[in-house]
Structures are given as structure tokens and as C-alpha cells.
Symmetry: C2
Subunit: 277 residues, 2 copies
Amino acid sequence: MGQNRFERDTAVATVDEGRYRANVDPGWAVIAGAAPNGGYLLAMAARAMRDPVPHPDPVTITAHFLAPPQPGEIDIEVEVVRTGRRHSTVQGRMVQDGRETLRAIATFGDLAAADGPTRVDRPRPPLPRFEDCIDATTAGVEAARAGGFQAPPVLERFDHRMSPNMMRWAKGEPLGRGEMGGWLRWADDDGPVDTLGVLVVADCYPPAVFNSGVGNLGWVPTIELTVQVRKRPAPGYLGAWLTTQAITGGYLEEDGAVWDSAGDLVALSRQLALASR
Amino acid sequence: MGQNRFERDTAVATVDEGRYRANVDPGWAVIAGAAPNGGYLLAMAARAMRDPVPHPDPVTITAHFLAPPQPGEIDIEVEVVRTGRRHSTVQGRMVQDGRETLRAIATFGDLAAADGPTRVDRPRPPLPRFEDCIDATTAGVEAARAGGFQAPPVLERFDHRMSPNMMRWAKGEPLGRGEMGGWLRWADDDGPVDTLGVLVVADCYPPAVFNSGVGNLGWVPTIELTVQVRKRPAPGYLGAWLTTQAITGGYLEEDGAVWDSAGDLVALSRQLALASR
């Protein structure tokens, strides 16, 4: 079975003990030619960080974004902080041209071996019925073309199914609530998204604040992103729902929840970002 | 104006460039003689971490808890990752007897200088009316004494005002919902809690899962705790509300929100912890 594009574009090669090399692909930019998607960078860092430890799943990972890297070669320096029976804690630093662009810390576990109580009281997000969704990837690419610009490259990495209402912020008609979400899977692979891919899903949409009606539609830089991964997703589309409900002095959170086709919670995410100025 | 106990018990002294020394006080243990409160350790680390940078407020801070330290001397190694005009990113390591016990990363800012849009749609937590609360510190200490054991030392660091219902889990009568919270301020200082104190507030209650009816009432170890601080609190009691709504395979989140007497959101927190086995 070949690799999918996500796997290829986040591949890491060992350079030395604790040092990996990867390639920032321009196909994951949030605006053509501009900064790569934060979740993509997080997943790339996580792939290097889990390499030296026996636990494959990032049960909780946090990155602070220091500077947007350019497409091309990037190094990831990995330090194993602690390895235990059940979890390993690992730090990662992404460095390009001598400049650190991201610092991450994660605890990895083995979600296939997780045992203990289970009870989910958290309400499921108000996802649209799948059959009421449009192919939002194609619609987005066509809308961009009609407008004379290039769609965000990261958009095309996913097969997005969304409510038509969800994207009307782009026409100046925001929902009036800080919400963004829908159903999605990889554009080039209809198999399950793995627990590194979930890190991208948690950050792959336009900012939920764009639907709030607050601020403008410019860049919303992420300061910090944390993702808790709870389950290896079942096959099929994932449902992802992001909300921004507290914009204070230009700071905002974006809270995400990812569910799978089996009806299980897959991940919770939260980021701190700056409203566009 | 003298220091309050929180300030004294989280004081750090410079040992060398990037190296601070502090004292883990037994008065912040979650069980007498056992592990210190995680928020207390986080605040201590944050005090050292902010020392070398010009930004005083932890707008987002994450710690991974590696091992519980003992009371007594502890070192905090601080690395300034990046300092910019608006924010500084700093890493901290707590080391005791050569063993790392906590690794943290934070971005500090200046919340007094925060500008930009403000809109809070997040519902206020269902806090009880203040006048319906009991003095939960005194009640907790007396209940423990009547039961022949010592109350959690950290309990007495706060003047807690809570609904009588909130603490009935201790008598085997949980609410049936993963909720914990109430009103609080420092026991020895009726002035405002500062943005380091908020880090303790976000983690100072018994685990919300104790009110869920799931699992037993044993130790719920925190793997990772992240706090976003949005505002320097106004004077008066803080309202804090913690919820656990997703227990999966023994992993659980605890989400917190802290509000102040001016009706403003002060902090959002989330931790990943393990259900008691």
C-alpha cells in the first residue's frame, strides 16, 4: 500500500541521533505562497518526535508557533524527556536556516491499549447531515478561480463536505457565530485518518472567527495549539467542529472536537490565536 | 505591602543565568504528605520563566507533569526561546535531585496592553449565587477532622465559597455530572489574585470527575495542563467552574473557566488526566 500525500509530505529522515530532516511542502499553505498550515507543521513535528519512543499516539501535544517557515528543508530536533511504561514525553524543535520556527512538547501513548472507564457526556457538535452537504473542496476551488485568485492549497488536501451556509463568510455573510466545521477525509485516500492526521484535521479550516462577524478576514496567527487525541479514527469521514466564543483584547481561542463515523470522540483541540488586525 | 502566602511559597531566587531555586512547600499538597497541587507547581515554574523576559502575564502556558516532587528545594531551568515586541516564549524545567519533574512552555504577554476586538459569547458557568454558598474551607476542614483525617492542605490556601451540593461526592453522593466549582480568593489576602495565581485557581479543586459518578475517588494524575490567561482579575472573589465530559479509555479532560467579579472571563484551562484506577 503506497503512502498518501499527508504521509509523504510529513515524512522525516534521521540525520543524526535526535535530529530529523523534513520538507515543508507548499501544498499545505493556508494562502498560496504564504504560511503553512499549523496542524501540518504540528503533525510533521509529531512524526519526528514519536520516532525514538515506543508509544505511537500523541495523547496530548502542544506547539508554540514562533515564525512561519518557508517551503523547503527543515530540521526537527527531538529530545526524549521521559519514557515510562504507559507514556513517553518528548520535546521537538523545528529549525530552518538556524532559526527556530516551532517548539512542541507531547506525551505519547498507545491508544489501542487504552483501558479504563469510558463515558462521554459531551454533546455532539451540530454537524449537518452528510446528505445535506456540498463538495466544499470543489466549490471552494471554483469560487476562488471565479474570483481570480488561487484557493488555499491546504483546502485541496481534504475532501470537504460542508453545509453551503458554512462558507458564506467568504461572500461577506458570516453566520454571526464563531463556528466552522463539517465532514472531511483525505482528498487522495479514503482510508482512515491516523492519529497524526488528526492533528491536521484539528486545525485545517479557515478560522472559526471568520463566521463570528468580529474583526476582518486577514491572517489569524496561532500562538499555541494543543490537541488531545483520544482514539484512532474509524474508517470514513470525520466530523470536525471548531468554535470561537471568547475574543478578548484581540486574543481568541479556537476549540475543536473531532468525531468519527463510529460516533466516537477522536480529539479535542484548543488554540490561542490573535484576531486579525 | 507584605507578600501573601502564595507569593512566598512560589518565590524563586536566581542561582545562575537561566537557573532559579525555589522551595516546594508541603502546604499545597492535594493530600497531606503527598503530591503538590499541579497548579501550584505551574505557577512556581511560571514565576521563574517570566523573570528574564519583559512580558509578565502567561497568556498561554502548558506543563507536562513527569513525576511528583517532594517538599523542599527544587531548581527551575529557564530557556528564553524567543522574545518579540508583543510576546516572549519561554521554556521551563523543574529538576529535583537530578530528576526532571515538570516541563513547561509558555508564551508571556502584557495583558494590560492588550488591544483588539472583544466579544465573549461563551456562556457564563452555572455558578451558585454567592449568598447561597457555604464557607467550604471551614466545612471541609471540619468534615475531615470529624472523619479522623487531615484535610487536603491546598484546600486551606483558599477562602472557598461553594454550594453545599457540590461537595457531597465526599459522602458518596456525586452530582452525576463531572462538575466542580464555586467562588474563591486567597485565604490570607482579600486583594485580587494575579495572573500567576490564576494558574493555581484553574487546578485547585478536587477533580470534577469525582462528581461524575465514574471511577473511584483515588488519585487522578494530570498528564498535561494548559491555561490561557486573558485578563488580570478584578478585586473580589473569582468564580471558577471545571467540567469533565469525555472520559475515554481511562483518559479524561478537565476544562476550566475562571471569571472575575467584574463579570469578565479571566482564564480558560484544560488538562488531560488519567481516571483513578
